[in-house]
């Protein structure tokens, strides 16, 4: 008899363990994302965003992917900036 815990159940429990009473929604996270990535790229203190930002990015794969992409864009050493 296999007695490994069901991975699905463990994943659900992990999600429940990370659940906060109040969490930011995707729209709120998106609204902050440019400011957040810029602060991070500039090595600023991120405590004004944490932990609500972190909690959402841990749980929402789409927002996390957009955060990683934007951070890549703003920290990228591409051609001279022309805006």
């Amino acid at each position: 008899m296999t007695m490994n815990a069901s991975p699905m159940i463990v994943r659900v429990l992990r999600m429940l363990a990370g659940t906060q009473e109040i969490e930011l929604g995707c729209e709120e996270v998106t609204a902050l994302l440019d400011e957040y990535c810029e602060a991070q790229a500039g090595g600023e203190d991120l405590s004004r965003f944490a932990p609500v930002m972190n909690a959402h990015l841990r749980l929402c794969a789409d927002c996390r992917e957009e955060y990683e992409a934007l951070l890549t864009l703003v920290t990228m050493d591409a051609d001279p900036i022309s805006s």
Partner: protein, 188 residues
């Protein structure tokens, strides 16, 4: 700014493993298309820019949202949530079988715990919500795509899942379970 976006988006897209079959020229075209769509959106959203970041960073955020949204929807075009309905009973398959009389106490206890958790999930979430959860957690389907299939948007889906998580948590606590203890017992 167009150049700033196009160049960076090109390098970003080229680094994505799901696009590694595309030639540079194709990625270039893709990036140009995304930038074109982004510029239209920027024009429409201009009054929302509050100067809390550089303009290029704000524009980059819109570009990334646009580009990744389109890539997700294209990649998962054929995904059907209905195909998961009926397959989202959370009761682990080995629990459905008759209990093994020779299993050690600890194993029996674990099986009981998992059965209880699965029961709460099955009771508290609708079949469609469970299918959405399986799609997100097991199949790796993006939130955008699951939201489309549920006729909603990502923000509303996140809120629905947040409410569901809070409800599951409190139902388990009502039954005398502590989430952290459960996690320790099951993953230990």
């Amino acid at each position: 700014m167009r150049q700033w976006l196009a160049r960076r988006l090109f390098f970003y897209l080229r680094s994505r493993s799901d696009l590694d079959k595309l030639a540079d020229s194709e990625i270039q075209d893709l990036a140009e298309d995304f930038v074109q769509d982004t510029l239209l959106q920027i024009r429409a959203k201009l009054e929302q820019f509050e100067g809390r970041s550089k303009f290029t960073t704000w524009a980059g955020k819109i570009a990334v949202h646009q580009a990744l949204g389109e890539l997700r929807r294209a990649r998962w075009r054929d995904f059907s949530l209905d195909s998961l309905i009926g397959e989202s009973d959370f009761t682990p398959s080995f629990l459905v079988n008759e209990a093994d009389p020779d299993a050690p106490d600890r194993a029996v206890e674990r099986a009981e715990t998992m059965r209880a958790v699965a029961e709460v999930i099955n009771e508290e979430l609708s079949e469609r919500q469970r299918a959405a959860l399986v799609a997100l957690m097991v199949e790796g389907v993006p939130m955008d795509v699951v939201a489309d299939r549920l006729g909603t948007n990502r923000n509303a889906l996140y809120k629905l899942l947040h409410d569901a998580r809070k409800r599951l948590r409190s139902r388990l606590e009502d039954r005398g379970y502590n989430i952290e203890t459960l996690l320790n017992d099951l993953s230990g």
